[in-house]
Subunit: 483 residues, 2 copies
């Protein structure tokens, strides 16, 4: 494709996206497709000859879009939001057009330095500790997701705990303990598997029944038990904003235990961390400055930055880079050998890396810090309002605190009806309506429905429409449920 | 940013990229910047108030571009190419604009199904075995890079070798052997570290001095030694197109050893695999059909697909998904429970995933298979021509076979001069000229220079210009070198 053709089709593509965003509201949020249905519409064999660009856009409209769950739909309220936004998309487009590799500083100096700079900005914006800054002992890096961030935190923790032995000899011959709760993200167990520790290394710390936050006295008990058993307490995950309910673990108290036992404290604030852009939510960072060895939050969830962009910081980058650095001849260069530069390839699993800092830079500059605050506050405000509607409606009950932009609730059912069945049926009906899309979780083994506000395009009337749909379907279900 | 503003700035951004591609030739390939220089031009603090989009483009031109190594420059001939192309960039733009998540089938069915479909197409295009297809026991998935592909292959191999024990209990208490050569990509050692096996698990198999390909008889010796020592032979990496010289390991013979000892065979064809689009290069797949447990190649290197796009296949997907699947309540859904769908989150380290299949789909459709062949053949033809120029010039010598689009060579130096110093000085001067950009490696501990053709925009006259620059600088160096 020549630059001239690129110009022409590029304008078409930009217009396609603008049109898509404008017509999103008219589309059902969730698709109605059966497994294999999309593939059934695609040609069995690849084309021998090139096709016009229009053919792609045609099939995008006819085959792909009808098979999508529209995450950017203003009435998408499932999982957590996956914010995309104009400035992020355009900066990401620039990244694709530039097509540079940031694996080492020397493979594109601006790619590394802009990333360091923007992550230092983010430390300031979120009120994170100075020791996360690149001009101290720590530093930030963009990972694809919080799962990968946790995995490299775990590798760093093993390096520190084993005093370098693990890198040489592996984890064999020594047992390690990881501390999580039933509310911790599943990526913790996944990281334990990938890092060769196995599921058996993962200790489930109890949570407080009311707050669903980690119970520190039980953590202490489990750590002491491990120490007595000859297991090395290795890493604790403190979650700031759990996936099911946005519960917040007591980072400071967990940190005290970690410090006493040399445990690596990883703070997973994937969803909630970005909310600290608002001074009134700085309490989300409590204990982080004093105790966190590593920390991550995802601008690609709730801070208007197109996936993938997980911001990950370490307090002492040496553990990370010493654990992961391998320097083959073909990557040797004067800048690396000078010791004056950061080579991000040593901070992550992949070698290659895209210029992802551009999109974070664009988002911060386009919105300004006040614009980011406005976005977070809007999500929280709408969630609070929604929670009031739920509280005021006797057919429903709130199921957990809602400190941020997620509301967990359930339909109240007659004593002889199965509440889980009724709630899952409600979920199914609401989602089948196409009006909105919600997801569920369980609290104390009981089904709850989740409404996560915070999408880029979500306004008050969208939440209202979703609530109306929910109320309507609830009435139908309650009418048909044996009373 | 409203859809209307997005339309306006989007057109500007598309034009910026088209202009950049058009003026690339006039830019020095490599930047002249010192560590910290780019950061020194950026404001110390983030902006409180939003800035106009023009400010971003202004700083892109003034601060970022001068600090980039231009990987898409037609005279960029370093490392391996990192192809970007119009259709890939535009499809990637669509992916950002759609902003959907493909972690499970149900979170956007078309995202998963298009990926399965396009990877089945690629099996056909590259002549890979049917057992890699998604309608058999195997299947393909897009990973970010070959490093991540190798890591998940290793996790799968551990699951198979330990009959599920490793997932539960970790790697502890049992020793495993990994077989690579000195030419294998550094990601193998990195994967061994991350997976908790440690560097000690990695066996360096000797290579043939002439071809730099793995010496199968030495592999046999090392495997037998491990068996005798109570070490479980776990995984062998066969590289098709090594990073230093594009050497090709004897996959079939390695596969025989693997089969006998239950070793997982991972074929790393990151750079060269895509060349099998040409029937005359199908020999690159020799042994893959019979022996490979997993295989990867990177369309983001030499097949016109913007980073990141590593195509990874397994012959039996059960090992992969059984090793990695964890199903928290908040991801439960009817489609997953039906067993009829693929949830790609279980095929990779991260949970979230972008709609990357779009760009591969766009590339295959825009160029057609014949267009892909043309691109590969052009790179190979230019490399062959360049190798002839080098061979005909008595100041130089070819340093390795050049079966594909990489040529390794060195400057001949007088007997009393240090050849490594002279060659590194030549590299430095050529790169400092801004005319072209090359990288180096070592063969048998002697420095060689590498010219990797295959960039999206590279034509014959660019290679000629690079060669002229090289010849000119060589003359200067030889004049100043004691004879």
């Amino acid at each position: 494709m020549s630059p001239q053709e690129f110009r022409q089709f590029g304008h078409r593509t930009v217009d396609w996206i603008a049109d898509y965003w404008e017509r999103l509201e008219s589309l059902p949020v969730a698709p109605e497709v059966a497994p294999g249905q999309v593939r059934g519409l695609l040609p069995r064999h690849p084309p021998e000859h090139g096709e016009p660009f229009e053919a792609l856009l045609h099939d995008l409209d006819g085959i792909v879009v009808p098979g999508l769950l529209h995450w950017q739909h203003p009435r998408f309220l499932g999982y957590f939001p996956a914010n995309t936004s104009g400035p992020a998309v355009l900066a990401d487009l620039l990244s694709a057009g530039l097509g540079v590799q940031g694996m080492t500083w020397s493979t594109s100096p601006a790619c590394t330095e802009l990333e360091q700079h923007v992550l230092d900005w983010l430390v300031e914006i979120l009120g994170l500790p100075d020791r996360f800054r690149s001009d101290g002992s720590g530093g930030g890096v963009i990972q694809d997701t919080a799962s990968s961030a946790l995995l490299v935190a775990l590798v760093s923790a093993l390096h520190r705990a084993g005093k370098g032995m693990v890198r040489r000899e592996g984890t064999g011959g020594r047992r390690f303990g990881l501390y999580v709760t039933g509310e911790t993200h599943s990526s913790a167990v996944k990281a334990a598997i990938i890092a060769g520790l196995g599921e058996q290394s993962v200790r489930q710390v109890r949570t407080d029944p009311a707050t669903l936050a980690l119970d520190v006295s039980h953590l202490r008990t489990l750590v002491m038990r491990d120490v007595a058993d000859g297991v090395t307490p290795l890493l604790a995950v403190a979650t700031v904003g759990t996936t099911s309910t946005t519960a917040v673990d007591p980072v400071a108290a967990i940190g005290e235990v970690c410090r006493r036992h040399g445990i690596w404290l990883h703070v997973d604030a994937a969803y909630a961390g970005v909310a600290a852009v608002c001074p009134e939510l700085r309490w989300l960072n409590e204990g982080v400055a004093e105790h966190a060895d590593s920390y991550c939050t995802n601008p690609h969830k709730w801070l208007l930055t197109t996936f993938d962009c997980d911001a990950f910081w370490v307090a002492d980058r040496a553990w990370l880079t010493e654990a992961m650095t391998i320097l083959p001849e073909y990557l040797r260069n004067a800048a690396t050998e000078s010791g004056l530069v950061t080579d991000y390839r040593n901070w992550q699993v992949p070698l290659g890396r895209r210029f992802r800092a551009l999109k974070l830079w664009a988002v911060i500059r386009w919105y300004g810090v006040e614009g980011l605050r406005r976005h977070i506050r809007q999500g929280i405000g709408l969630a609070a309002e929604l929670a009031e509607w739920i509280r005021a409606d006797e057919r429903f009950e709130l199921a957990a605190p809602h400190p941020l932009s997620l509301v967990c609730f359930r339909l109240r059912t007659p004593p002889d009806a199965d509440p889980d069945t009724a709630n899952l049926r409600l979920l199914e009906r609401v989602n089948a309506s196409g009006t909105t899309f919600l997801t569920h979780s369980r609290i104390h083994d009981r089904v709850v429905l989740r409404i996560a506000v915070g999408g880029t395009f979500t306004q008050r009337h969208h939440v209202e429409q979703a609530w109306q749909c929910l109320a309507q379907e609830a009435s139908r279900i309650l009418r048909s449920t044996p009373a």
